[in-house]
Symmetry: C2
Subunit: 211 residues, 2 copies
């Protein structure tokens, strides 16, 4: 789209948010310049890897002996990651996890606005911290009206496929699923599954290897 994006490797793209976090911590500590080697040491990466990654995003080259300007780098990373554009999102499944997402304020900095939640149970319908919770029947109507393109799926496993189908039907093109189930989506819809339990389990394996 912007010419350069295709050149950024998938693995590097996953590291960008981590750099961003790190840099914001440095900025808060009053640091103005930071070098690849410093970042590498703190983040347990190779210095060359960091330099290559930063070269992909930095709008101006790093200065020898000094490194990169922290503030500038933060802007570049946020732009590359697309945090400047606004996207409307909704939560499907207003259980504990879904409600946590609905009211979480951290999404704003990432250009994401969670506008509503939906649930099949009338008991959940209402509002939370000013965010509305609608019955599932109104998903399509509201998603279209609010131009919701992103959906967060937090329903029980056995309801996942049906809920997912409803989201697709409502015009949602990107779905982040926390439902413990295998779901299918048609071509043109991007699905990512975050299996929190599996993620935890793999973390244990990793920790055991590290001893």
């Amino acid at each position: 789209m912007e010419g350069r994006s295709a050149e950024i490797s998938k693995a590097a793209f996953l590291r960008f948010p981590v750099y961003l976090r790190y840099l914001k911590a440095e900025e808060a500590a009053g640091v103005e310049y930071v070098s690849s080697s410093e970042i590498a040491e703190d983040m347990h990466l190779s210095a060359v890897c960091v330099r290559k990654d930063l070269a992909l995003v930095a709008s101006e080259p790093g200065k020898p002996r000094l490194g990169f300007a922290v503030k500038k780098l933060i802007c570049d990373l946020e732009r590359t990651l697309g945090y400047h554009r606004k996207t409307h999102a909704c939560v499907v499944g207003a259980g504990r996890l879904g409600r946590a997402f609905l009211v979480y304020e951290g999404f704003e900095h990432y250009g994401i606005d969670v506008v509503a939640a939906f649930d099949i149970s009338p008991a959940q319908v209402g509002a939370l911290s000013g965010k509305p919770i609608y019955p599932m029947e109104r998903l399509k109507e509201i998603a279209e009206r609010e131009e919701v393109r992103l959906g967060i799926l937090t329903v029980p496993g056995d309801a996942a496929q049906a809920a997912c189908d409803a989201m697709v039907e409502a015009g949602i093109t990107a779905i982040l699923s926390f439902a413990p189930a295998y779901v299918r989506v048609p071509e043109g819809v991007t699905l990512r599954c975050e299996d929190l339990a599996a993620s935890l389990a793999s973390l244990i394996s990793e920790a055991e290897e590290n001893n």
Copy 2:
């Protein structure tokens, strides 16, 4: 540790939980045998990749013309992923997200037992669905008593480092952090950061590329 584990590539290990999900769905649908090519097509992977992955975990070779026995494969995957052993976990930060983890029942199948939550605010102390919520001061005492090795960090960003330090001090060796902050851990402690907002944002980028 078990001789073979070192040969399993990191990328493959990340695919295993997805296979497991898929296979369980197939099992539920009454399927007995499944071939690499079928899995590949459904999961949008290459058939060769699937075969190589399955060869890493399968205790018995697949049968030509039939494929792999679904039930057997599920067992093999669960064993490889370590879902058979029990690990005690705790939640640090009993906000909405933390409480969702505390009562989530899906961890059991993965060998994880969330035994308690901790929070700095006395208002949160109590219990939820039979799971106790203790004040932070008791973290070390209880973590040691219950042999908690895994911690789920769900505190606000500005409290993350302090909470993390307390977890390390309490003998926790693996930490899954959802706190929106960059935290440091000493050598020997495994940290994984799940940035939900960043994950969502990257999903948007991915979806836009797919158009």
